[in-house]
Amino acid sequence: MRYLRLAGIFWAASAAARMEYRAAFAVSLVAAVVETAGKLFGVYLFYSNGYDLGGWRWQEALLVLGFAQLVDAFFILLFQPNLRRISEMVQDGTLDFVLLKPVDGQFWMSVQQVGVVGFPYLVTALALLLFAGSASGLPAGGWGLLGVAAVAAVLLGYAVAFLLATTSIWFVKIFNVVYFLSSMIWSAQYPVQAYARPFRLFMTFVLPVYFMTTAPAELALGRAQASWAWALFAVALGFFLLSRAFWRFALRYYSSASS
């Protein structure tokens, strides 16, 4: 409860500071719409050339696209603005001040900033999910699963991003890791069945982007038989716990600015 209140305070302050740059926000509105249109166009290109992305109806493929957009929106909204600061704070030695605060260090590092330019992306992502969900005729249970799976997918995205960002304790300047991750989400915007087999394995087991986009869609659509989709919840929880353990482990190697 206390943490929820803190998050509220952080976000209000950070959003207020960012709203000074109103032009940036206005442009991001346009950019979000153009980007969504372009992604839809990308899906259209496959279907207009007669390829069904590995056995998906177009409405269902849009659901996958919606989840990709959702995770991407959280990258812009929360993960990028916050996690880039881990690397900055290690460089400047200001991480000390965070560790001294009477709040959980990982919590503080993860929610302190909010990138308001991510809001338009979040809105288009939700609109896309709503449209694709109703166009594929999701039953009530499907909608419920969609919601739960969306939370798990975002949690997984966060955990992987945080894990990689934590390595900056050793490598110091590693901000591009987060850029790398969000570009990988880009490549997971189509159902994994659409890709050649080695890529499919890579996206499931090496970089778990399958669990962020295709798996939630499979769960919501009830296509989860004989696939790994249900593992989403275990994978998300596992990565989250791992990210916490890794953060504590990394801090043991953090020799602050003056020591």
């Binding site: 000074e20 740059y21 032009a23 940036a24 926000f25 442009v27 991001s28 346009v30 950019a31 153009v34 980007e35 372009g38 166009f41 990308g42 290109l45 496959f46 207009s48 050339n49 007669g50 390829y51 992305l53 590995g54 330019v117 490598f171 300047k173 590693i174 901000f175 591009n176 890791v177 850029y179 790398f180 570009s183 990988m184 880009w186 490549s187 997971a188 189509y190 659409a194 890709y195 050649a196 890529f199």
Partner: protein
């Protein structure tokens, strides 16, 4: 002129050393640029199931060329300039008898020097993973493609620099470049070869720079479709336009600059 070349040579070596320091970062940047290979994976799978005009091998060659073309045209001048204005670092650069544009250009050129060996490495891995996908395009297409990609880089640079100059008025203008970037993503042939786009779309974007930025060098290198040399004219025209825009913004903007005690 020779004074300028001497300055540029110094700047290049300085920024090359700078970039070497951050090569770990550049590795991830290069890795983040691997996205075209995922589109390749989807299209060559489509081809394997017999759905499109090209063979899997042709797609592999095409998307590799797209990858290289995109890597050679990456720019961040908007970000650097915007940062200079916001933090006041620009004041120091204004004191020097050199247009700061040269400094940022040297920064970009030197970074290519660090990036090239990594691209060669990725090319090697690619050739091993997809044997037969890479074929020698011949000298003329190779050089024409390089010329096209240099022109594309210059145009992207001028656009990014112009957006950076807008920071004199808007503080944080980098977001505007996002629009350019997104349009380039969708209309430059990264999603699919442009020849697969609906004809109306192809016609509609023909005179914009987007379809030529990546597709022109990529068609020279991959030989997927005959390259359209009129693309040079389109790119050149837009490069001139944005050169003029950048000069105008620079003249008008300098007078507004008042950061950090200036």
């Amino acid at each position: 002129m020779s004074a300028l070349t001497a300055k540029m040579r110094t700047l290049l070596s300085v920024y090359y050393a700078y970039m070497l320091e951050y090569r770990a970062e550049i590795v991830f940047w290069v890795l983040g640029g691997l996205v075209p290979f995922f589109f390749m994976a989807a299209w060559s799978e489509a081809a394997r199931q017999g759905h499109t005009a090209y063979t899997p091998g042709e797609y592999e060659r095409y998307f590799f060329a797209v990858f290289i073309a995109r890597q050679l045209a990456i720019v961040w001048a908007n970000w650097t300039f915007s940062d200079w204005v916001r933090t006041g670092k620009l004041s120091f650069h204004l004191l020097q008898p050199l247009d700061p544009a040269w400094r940022i250009l040297a920064d970009h050129a030197a970074e290519r020097g660090v990036r090239l060996p990594m691209l060669a490495l990725i090319g090697l891995v690619f050739a091993l993973l997809f044997p037969g996908a890479l074929v020698w395009p011949g000298w003329a297409p190779l050089l024409l493609g390089l010329a096209a990609s240099t022109l594309a880089f210059l145009l992207s640079f001028l656009v990014a620099y112009s957006v950076g100059l807008l920071s004199f008025w808007f503080e944080d203008a980098t977001e505007i470049f996002e629009l350019w970037y997104v349009l380039m993503l969708f209309f430059s042939g990264m999603l699919a070869p442009l020849s697969l786009y609906p004809e109306a779309v192809q016609r509609a974007v023909y005179y914009t720079p987007f379809p030529h930025l990546v597709y022109l060098p990529a068609s020279y290198w991959s030989g997927l479709e005959p390259a359209d040399p009129r693309g040079f004219a389109v790119l050149g025209f837009w490069a001139l336009v944005f050169f003029a825009v950048a000069r105008l913004l620079w003249r008008a903007g300098r007078r507004r600059f008042s950061a950090m005690g200036a």
